[in-house]
Symmetry: C2
Subunit: 279 residues, 2 copies
């Protein structure tokens, strides 16, 4: 199975892909999300694993847009806890370090730890796993990288200090997407629908779920730039399309809204243990 | 008036602060959002200007969290269109450029343009405006920076190619926050409230608005990590607290939810013209 990700080996996307689909898959890295989706659409890949939301940074609208553009379906989801580690060439000690390199977002998420070492020079790089690669390939003994565990494993780096991120509640929801139409198995449904912004329309839309006792797991509005006062709504439901009340609610919703698309029916696994402590 | 921002002079935050509050303000830059909020709480500043959401990257949950932690109030908002420009030392020509530097997020948002110049080496830096500063201070004639117009103005750089970002729909919503309690003037209200995830609770909560014909401008759910099945909801309403129907709806909502906080009542200006074309 060939699965596309944005980024390189050792990245959090690769880690998510392997946790979702196992170690036997072949992971193909692309520079941009658009390139990943296009390759799946050309059937060069069996699917892709992309982030949909992060607990600190919010929804990744780019990927919601690409899901709609390409009509891909969510087949699985995985909540990856984002843990950053200080990674060095094996044997290097804290006192040897003069420079720390990583992606600026990772650096920003480890400011408390970095603040305890004002003697280090902090340098921004293009990506987290690439920083580990650089330390290892260039045999750097006075430079540490900040990245995930997978990057250390990929390039043979040693984790000198683990879990150095400021917030323990930093997790990213990844989804496995395919071209195939969604099935009815699973206990979670993701929808996107559009409503005219007439007062009470959203209320009526949500009524189709409330009346049947169907729980919402997520709701997010997104204004449409080219249609003033109209919105897209992203909604996740607790329940699969195999359940009558869910299927009926989705059908009734089609009469309420101007446009609806079922993004997938899949197993909602909640926030999983990534082997680095429960969320 | 002293106003805090995250980042440096020439950044998009500074541009937003000046558009919100005029050119007479004194803008103080901090490295982290947390530092900005803490300085306002210590009354070292009169307020701060921070981003709440971006059309591509989603809501900035960090700042929603900090607003709740410090009980700041939204006084104004501004939608800043994020436009990236290729900025050089004055007189430098396209053919002189060998290297392009900027923050990785800005580089990623200009991939189409950069793809037309494969001969350029692209190097990641810590921030957009700092890249312009580097080009100017080091007198670099073979290096261009990617940043906003404000950075070019601050450091005397020349915009060689304007609007090189891939997406024209890249805008960030900035808010001006203060310690003072919210007033009743304005035509937009931002709320945060918590609901137990009993089926239909959200439906009931939204009913208080629907029954009175109060429009929602934004709704977003956010799961609470330490309270399974409970959510925070961020909601923006069309209408001010000075209007009876809005005030009554907010009051009734207090009986429906477990916790509610009015984040502000202010003038909702919609997406404003930034002088670089309407959204």
């Amino acid at each position: 199975m060939r699965v596309g990700i944005q980024g390189d080996v050792g990245s959090f996307s690769e880690e998510a892909a392997r946790r979702l689909l196992g170690n036997e898959i072949s992971v193909v890295g692309f520079r941009r999300f658009e390139d990943v989706f296009a390759a799946v659409a050309r059937r060069e890949l069996d699917g892709c694993v992309v982030p949909l939301e992060n607990s600190i940074a919010g929804s990744v609208h780019t990927n919601y847009d690409l899901m709609l553009k390409y009509h891909f379906r969510i087949c699985r989801e995985y909540y990856l806890r984002v843990c950053h580690h200080l990674i060095v060439f094996p044997g290097v000690d804290l006192k040897d370090i003069r420079t720390v390199i990583s992606h600026p977002v990772a650096l920003a998420q480890c400011e408390r730890f970095l603040g305890m070492h004002p003697e280090w020079e902090v340098v921004a790089t293009y990506d987290t796993s690439g920083s580990v690669r650089e330390v290892m390939e260039k045999n750097l003994r006075d430079c540490a990288a900040i990245a995930g565990r997978r990057a250390a494993e990929c390039f043979g780096g040693e984790i000198l200090v683990s879990n150095i991120q400021d917030s323990v509640e930093n997790y990213t929801r990844f989804v496995f997407l395919r071209l195939e139409p969604t099935g009815e198995t699973g206990d979670k449904v993701s929808l996107v629908f559009r409503l005219a912004n007439v007062p009470g329309t959203l209320f009526r839309a949500l009524g189709v779920f409330a009346q049947r006792g169907v729980n919402l797991l997520k709701i997010e509005s997104r204004p449409l730039k080219d249609r003033p006062w109209e919105y897209l709504f992203y909604v996740d439901l607790a329940g699969g399309l195999g359940e009558d009340k869910v299927a009926e609610a989705v059908e009734e919703l089609q009469g309420v809204c101007e446009y609806i698309e079922v993004l997938g029916c899949y197993s909602g696994i909640g926030m999983m243990d990534t082997g680095e402590g429960r969320l």
